[in-house]
Symmetry: D4
Subunit: 227 residues, 8 copies
């Protein structure tokens, strides 16, 4: 894939890292000279030290043969101008970060894929880290359901029981499913069966139709407020 990354800042840099590591051909456009130099030094990519809101710059970056462009500057207005120019140059796949949530619909209106509000995502992770510290990672499924990772506490009710036993005791609700079990010493996650026994310190991937509720974290030995 030929990929143009606009901006080599906080977000652009790990993106260039991922994209070059993935074996893609990468062109970077960065206005700031110092950042451009650093990107050129660290990664195997073409770096153009110029303003991306110009067709000439985009063409220099290989717009006519690019498969995708990702705009990561920290100003929404600049990102939208870049995306519109990229559309004119017929880049097939265009994605942008959006900083002001209010601007999301504007990007959608012109047909640009957007990163679903990165700051809110980070904010939610931070908030979870203090309000649900037992939850290691999580993903929303629809409005309420979630898949999440949680550690089994030493005194958790479920610890030492098989999944069948846990089900039998009604520990897990109808709409709750243990998807995978990461266990110290195992190379890959264990696919849970009825007779798989849950142990303390297991890191479980759970699907819950009601999301992460105090009832559920409780089962795994974590007492948390409904904050």
């Amino acid at each position: 894939m030929y990929l143009i990354v606009v901006g080599a800042g906080d977000i652009g840099t790990p993106l260039i890292d991922l994209a070059t590591a993935g074996g893609n051909e990468v062109a970077v456009i960065e206005r700031d000279e110092e950042r451009a130099d650093r990107a050129a030094r660290q990664y195997d990519c073409l770096v153009i030290n110029d303003d991306a809101t110009s067709k000439e710059t985009l063409r220099d970056a290989g717009a006519e043969r690019a498969d995708a462009l990702i705009s990561t500057t920290d100003r929404d207005a600049a990102n939208i101008m870049v995306c519109l120019l990229a559309q004119e140059l017929s880049i097939p796949n265009i994605v942008s970060v959006v900083h002001n949530p209010e601007h999301m619909s504007v990007f959608e209106q012109i047909g640009v894929n957007t990163m679903q509000n990165p700051q809110s995502l980070i904010a939610e992770y931070l908030y979870r880290a203090v309000s649900r510290p037992s939850v290691v990672d999580f993903m929303h499924i629809g409005e309420e359901a979630e898949v999440f990772e949680i550690t089994v506490g030493a005194n958790a009710e479920i610890a030492g029981k098989t999944i069948q036993e846990a089900d039998a005791e009604g520990l897990l609700g109808d709409d709750t499913l243990i998807v995978a079990i990461e266990r110290s010493g195992e190379e890959r996650p264990i696919t849970p069966r009825g007779n798989t026994r849950i142990a303390a310190d297991d890191l479980l991937t759970i699907y819950s139709g009601d999301g992460v509720t105090p009832e559920i974290t409780d089962v795994f030995g974590h007492t948390e407020d409904d904050g």
Copy 2:
């Protein structure tokens, strides 16, 4: 929960939004006057317009009774100073964003929970958006496994089949599990059973021990490179 949020910028603002909406008591410390004013206007929280790298400011923000502090400024050095002062003031739960990945271990070294590299997370989402556009959302489970959401394409091989049929045909590998099915018209995700029939346009939550591979996206009707 009594929560101190340091910084009312791009990340801090949606965090204050979440935290106040969650019914918590929130104190915000923001050095920039304009940002401080805006936070005070928009949210039901205490806002202190001062430098957070001072015990006095932290005490004014109620450090002695705070349950948690989240530091979200855009300078790692400032965040670490805030976290160290918060430790001195015995705030039980301290979390910080970290911008330079190299600094992650420094925060761990002093015992502060960190947001696992927010820019990398965003970068990965952006990268997925162009390299695996069929994948709507995803979460890593251990090194390789992933839970992800994917839409069933109109011409997907699996469309129109029950899960049993799909299993029988070996469409899904041993280490792949359909966790949930979001379907237009249904209020909540459907918990899949053997006789549940997959339809085009269903949004499936999949667990795959090998992560999102071209083989899997292929089953759901999406032809993507291994880029």
Copy 3:
């Protein structure tokens, strides 16, 4: 008409002047405090001192009942963001200045009327002022033709002749038409007839299918290079 003017700078100020003088209801959005204050002092209009790339600001300016919005800031990216937000808010008529000619098509692509490259227009006027100093004002008709104003020189061949005589002598080409005659002492321009006599110092409005050529300026007594 209810009109929102974005920007109270060099272009915005005379626009507010015109619009208020024309009896319209005018709301102005200007980020710079000093400019906002000056506009509020000088004109009978509502002035909002805020960033226009926000729906809230546009709503405060009365977007939901505005007949038109004109964006005049000096940054194309800001103008395009304002126009897209204005479209979302269903403002019926949206116009913007565009500074970089390359960006014209981008504005058109999203369906915004644009001022046809104001700097080029000014540049052309300036250039004419030195290359065709006899031409007072001009307007392009299609690719080549022009309507223009020119003064009749004291020694012009045409001076003292009627239009019929001039035609008879072939002074004016087939594709040239005297549209109007402004003459000192007359309140309104004279509509030329066959027997109307051209006098030195008359200010003629001419249509020429070939534009302003040295041949034509020559007829009116002005010797100019073909520069």
Copy 4:
């Protein structure tokens, strides 16, 4: 013609473009290094990266053999100083943009030709674009009269009629003249005769002694307020 352009900004750049394209010898004086470099790269002209309010700089730009100087900086005071120095150096033709309308008379007082208030011109175009959207371009003739371009609407009363017929029906007032007709498919504007038939979608160049009035736009099928 040997032409000195002072300033390579928004107005100066298209001016340099016009002047070099017109085969003139062009010298540019621009204080800002980046702008000076860009001008030198893009155009075939001499570029001097220095302050123009100095005779030495003007001499370096070839003042003693220049036919004209056009000052386009965005500060009136700088423009006036440049013009006065240019007068001292006996440059025959001196033109300047003026930003503050109040300063027009000052330039006139010292005998410098000025661009007739560029911002007002742009402002009027923008204003027309919302108040008379059917009018494509226009030019003032004296106080009230105007030449303007207007499209013939599909339902216009005049559509399908010859000019004679239109005249006979009194559709166009006494003081109104169809100057030229641009028609899709025709290379040059058509010179209208009595039997020329007006068609929908024709772009007419009209002379009107009363300017663009609602009565006239009405004839061409556009209903507009008298705003």
Copy 5:
């Protein structure tokens, strides 16, 4: 006299001091707020904190009844704009400082009196202070002649002699005249007569047709190079 002083900086401030002390009515225009405030606090004058390159500001300062305007800002271009506007407003007497000697003729060209190059004046004083340290003050008369003040050294040839004696001995050339004698203990300068005796430490005012030459300073007991 009603006097407008533009600029309350290093030169403007002592000027305001002189002008108010002289019983004049003084209006000051100063753009910088801090300087404007200080002037208003220290002097009995009207202070307008605004940009002087605007007729409105000048009118606010009482231009229509002013007897004179003195422009003292440190930018020549601003001074010239102010002077031209002052001419338009018919202020009878207009004076300006000029910083770049090259700009002197420009001010003269538009008919503004100028301070004869203040920096050069200061520079000459400084230069004299090291090259002719015995000369206390001086004034040029035409090209070569000078009036100057010089102290009579203890060992000066002229000390102890009457003017007649000095003349008789030919100590002073034909074209040299002792204009006045300041002597410690005398309230006013002594008008020299033939029998007036010159004493060591007298401060003489001398007219010399050849200016300050080493021959002359020698007579008064100062040995100086011709540097």
Copy 6:
């Protein structure tokens, strides 16, 4: 003479001009790179682009063999530091401009010659230019007396009279002396004798024990207020 000039700004530049023209060896210290370059280009002198408040810089400029140093920067504190360092390095003759009159005594206290308040001098010249426009140049002698240049007006009482006649009529007071007469056509000023006749348009150098009073300017045909 070997002369060090500190500062190549508004005052320093004409000083360098004078000093190099006078055949001196000149070293210039200027911190600003652009100014340093310009001085090096324009004058035959050594230019050091460094901070002068350092002995090393002063030594580089040749302090150990300098006859004099003149400090002309626009900050008094910097000038005083330079002068003190120059004293340490035993430069025999040290002179400085002083901007704040209050600081004059401080310079005197450390034994540095100072330019007697340059801004006040300029201010007085400017003030005279409007209050006594007939006075071309002037110099104070003690507290009240002045030597000044004045033009003889066409209708001056004194015009056409010999000095003897003027004295006889008591036109000039006891304490007033005509020092020299500059006359169009004469190469040098005329030394006035009793029978020398004063003509209109003569430029007289006058000594007046009472300074420039309205009585005196009146004699020379200028009616001025006592402002």
Copy 7:
């Protein structure tokens, strides 16, 4: 004592703290508004928010009755100007910090006491902290001698011996003296006598005519390079 402190920065703040705690009457002059406000809030002192290089400011701070002035700004030139003005105002005791060591003599030349190069002092402490980590504090006596504090190591040769014994064994050179012994559990330092026994962990104050040498630190159980 009435004390004026100039500057409320890093050095000025603890100085104000000390001076107010010592019961003195303190006036502070600080140009920066924020710093001035903070000083006024935290300490019981008069704070003047103005430029100290002005006699008026110094008088407002009570210069005429001050016993001492300490200048602590971070610019040497400003400090010297303040000190000179303070001398003029006859403040009896004037002290200043000096940043550039080269400027020390300049301050001495004008008779101002100076803090003996604070940065060098800090630098030496820092350097000792890594080159002689066993030395807790130290003070130079003349060129070579030092008084210093050192901890007695667990395996130090001297540990467990009386001073007489140590002397007898020649552990301490002739020119070395144990001045005082701080011992855990003792409220005040012990004055050493011949029979006083040195214990491990004692903190000794030592006078050494040769300064801190490796031989000496060795006796106290610390092996350090001669770095």
Copy 8:
């Protein structure tokens, strides 16, 4: 010793001076280009012009073989980040300046040696210079005791007496000890014996268990308040 110095400012510069003079191998990290250049010019050390809050920079400076790192930047947060990174890189000896006293404990908490509040130290010296001007230098021993240097005044009670005599008269308290005597003409300090005679102008090093009290300074002929 291999030493890394972070920061080449006011404190870093004399530190580099000391460390290179002491024969150590020194690497300097300084972000500011001008400062970095100056350090490289003046000292025999490796200079890295980069941000020190990066492991890569620290490694470039030789962190893996460094014996010590001293952080001297003027921002505590930067210093703490540098120290934490230095700990990660296992630099054995880490020292930092701390500007805000409140931050001292934070540095201690992470196990970094700190310069004991340099600003307070300087402040105390300055304060002593005005409150105890007779005390030349001093060092605290525990809470109250001090070693200090004091000059013997001409009229001091102790002048001319032997130490025995002084003891006999009870001039010095029990807890006071004369440690050393610096005397003009002697190369090294004199070690005092019972028969050593104290002379006026001797500079004594005194140990006093009660610190510097008025009683003690009195004995040496200095009358000072208890300020």
